[in-house]
Symmetry: C2
Subunit: 254 residues, 2 copies
Amino acid sequence: MSETLRPLILVCNDDGFYSPGIQKLTEVAQRFGEVRVIAPDRQQSAVGHSITISQPLRANKVKMPSGLDATAVNGTPADCIKLAHDKLMDRKPDLVLSGINHGSNAGINIIYSGTVSAATEATILGYPAIAVSCSDFDEDADLSGCADAASRVIQFVLKNGLPKGVTLNVNAPAGPLKDLVWTKQADSRYVEEYDGRVDPFNRPYYWMTGKFELLENGSDLDVSVIDEGKASVTPIQYDLTAHGFFHEIKKNVL
Amino acid sequence: MSETLRPLILVCNDDGFYSPGIQKLTEVAQRFGEVRVIAPDRQQSAVGHSITISQPLRANKVKMPSGLDATAVNGTPADCIKLAHDKLMDRKPDLVLSGINHGSNAGINIIYSGTVSAATEATILGYPAIAVSCSDFDEDADLSGCADAASRVIQFVLKNGLPKGVTLNVNAPAGPLKDLVWTKQADSRYVEEYDGRVDPFNRPYYWMTGKFELLENGSDLDVSVIDEGKASVTPIQYDLTAHGFFHEIKKNVL
């Protein structure tokens, strides 16, 4: 295949262009195609699918720690994908990757995840997209298993494509890859979330803490699979309609 | 029914505690129970399901323009619900309402909506929850139809409850209520999103603009129903698993 026909891969994340995770994912992407990195200029964790509507965005050329040229955007992960799509790409990407996030995006974390939102935004805009996260928060964690999982999922998507509206959400533990399985989003939530304190002026304030609580069990759930040391691939969608309830209730007059 | 047995209703939004929409929704809520308003201290549109993890939150007693006591939180809509649940409520609410948002939260807007995220967060935490939005952005728009739609949906939920994991997303045009129908989230997206400009120092910057584009047609879609002047109720869920594709693909080795 000639150089110009190699797939064009756009890489984004939510930890910023300088994070170890995005260096690693960029290395993986380079095995499969030509790579453009367009990512937030700073850490943007837990921004969910936030977008910037009241401030202008800027896109600056930067060097990644790996030496690769990248574009840093003063916005959220979803902003990066939207701006890349509309203004910053010389041609349309064949694949969009987001990550590797430092921290799990399995279970309810999907809802809060900036990493996943970048991939979802790409899906909305019509691109095949994959989010990749390491369940270990440590920035020095061994990302080799995440990279190998990402590599296999990228091959799958470049070969088979993805159905319209479907994004793949990959999570893997730190360390070498053990196994890679298809999963569903585990029902889960956070409990005891706030540490209430009093400031020097006797006014209360609250730090978010919180314990992750798994609300269901099953061998095909993302959280359970990762707890077993395996890597997980969850197909997710941006159609939030509760179709089962809709079909049950639609004849009822309100 | 004695005062103490009336349902407790928590009201939130994403436009801030002083917006006309939350005054109106609070009035509606007061017909059905005892009301607590816990809402952002400022406008938080398009924050999606963003949460605050690196800064402490504060909750201050304020007076709403309507004269009602409320609590203003320096965070996102999802933060308000989490903090209310964990720290700020004297007893657990029987129902959580979010809105009335000034602007549509139908179709792809659901993904970016802070209003919807407050209701979704309440669902995650186990409460029946309803988001309400007016498709007119004008802060002076006639919200009577939205209020009547909200009233009927509140009655439905107080009588029937909601299945676990399901949130109701209500949208109505400005003006009197014509009809109220069950709908699905319409596939849609924004196109031509950025207005690129050059600053006085010759550096480019980008304002988000964008045209809403409907990608499917159908008489049971939220966007279509609202375009016909009716009010729409869409059951949505926080389980993002693409179940159809999962069941099709799960036997395939990656």
